[in-house]
Amino acid sequence: MKEEIIVSGRMNQLIDPHLHIWHWQISLYLFLGGMAAGILAIAALYFIRGREKDYRTAVRITPFLAPVLLVLGLIALFIDLRHKLFFWQLYTNIKLQSPMSWGAWTLMVITPASFIWCALHIKDIFPDWDWKYKWIYNLDTFFNKYKKTLAWVMLIYAIILGIYTGILLSAFNARPLWNTSILGPLFLASGLSAGAAVTLLLSKDKAERKQFARIDLVLIGIELFLIIHLFMGFLASTQVQIEAANMFLGGPYTMSFWIFVVILGMLIPALLEIMELGKFHIPVLVPVTLVILGSLMLRFIIVYAGQVSRWLY
């Protein structure tokens, strides 16, 4: 029998007995950032493809949520920092090897871009909106002229943002559960799925609803595929990653992951969306809520479980 103890009595706060440095703030931010990325990517993509008229809600209405989500996410991130007054250090450095630096700079681009996008469409929400000052009107005309460029910037940065929420975690090889490149695409798919779900909820147009139910279905399919690959990869990898996978295959996170993320967050909404595409009409609020909650749970479970997973030591 092998027994390992720290005889000098180590109990560093937030580090021992296992790492628990990141809490709801990071999980919530990864979710909000991912959903905002999904909403903006879809809006920009359909605008660039000239489908604005067909998918009016996705291009002009749903993006109004993005700046709100991003600002809430930024607040959560700020709350998480322990040396808060030095946060500006993020913006005096560019560290290409640090995903968090990429994230900080991406947010610096996409947050203003999402505000501008909303400002350009403000009359869709408030028909009598008046900018009052001439210089704002000038800005409005300026950005309208370069709307396509703005859409491209938004599309590219939204995809970076969506992937980065996963890469942020997968860059840590010290935590075997996180250390898989599947996490980037998985979080991107999950964010896109949550973004598509919101449009499904907000849209009043039948054709658009049908399209977004279809998009969400495809994304859920991709997510399931990635989850299967995630576990296949783990089980074919080193001892530490086999143990990381076992936390979800019989270990402490089995129930929460498979019930809340996979069954309630993916399989049931997928079933309901298939019914929506067919003849049975269920209140669309149900699958949408399930998809969004599943997306949130995925972030929470991965963030918490990852900190428990570690190298044999």
Partner: protein
């Protein structure tokens, strides 16, 4: 120059003097430690084997904490020592999540703190506090590029191992076995 430390697991008795010396020398806040002593007991009585290790930051060559730090607060100085600049640290936790040895901790003031190999002492030609006080003289410190340094000599004479080398960090804390 490449600073490194070797710990003789056969001489270490686990007295934890190194831990106390470090806490005193570096004003480590109460309840935290930059170094610690691990005791590994293997086998069943009477066939027992014991290994005692005084552990701390491994001052890795390929330090994941430095790679993941978004501001450059975690950096490597001359001699390969990994340090944190409190004035640049935002306390995001990325370095703590990236360390497979869990060698870092959040200082109550907000920034992240860790073993510095007593940088302020070795700059002035002294050895780290833990090495200085060790009653069994089981800690060896020095420059690996200098063939005559304590650590080079003992590493040439004895077999040694590092912790979790498979994590790809190239750790510079050696354990004599």
């Amino acid at each position: 120059m490449r600073y490194a430390m070797a710990v003789d697991t056969r001489k270490c008795v686990g007295c934890s003097d190194c831990v106390v010396a470090c806490q005193t020398e570096n004003d480590v806040p109460i309840g935290f430690c930059r170094d610690w002593v691990v005791e590994v007991m293997d086998g069943t009585y009477p066939q027992l084997e014991i290994e005692i290790r005084s552990e701390r930051c491994n001052h890795c060559v390929n330090a994941p904490c430095v790679r993941c730090c978004p501001t450059g607060a975690s950096h490597i100085v001359d001699g390969g020592i990994v340090l944190v600049e409190p004035g640049e640290c935002i306390g995001c936790g990325a370095c703590m999540a990236s360390c497979p040895y869990d060698a870092r901790y959040p200082h109550p003031s907000g920034y992240v703190d860790k073993c510095t190999f007593c940088f302020h002492r070795i700059k002035n030609g002294m050895s780290p506090a833990c090495v200085e006080v060790c009653p069994t003289k089981c800690l060896y410190f020095g420059d690996l590029d200098d063939m005559n340094s304590d650590v080079s000599v003992v590493l040439k004479k004895r077999k040694s191992k590092t912790l979790i080398p498979e994590a790809g960090t190239d750790p510079q804390l050696y354990f004599l076995i």
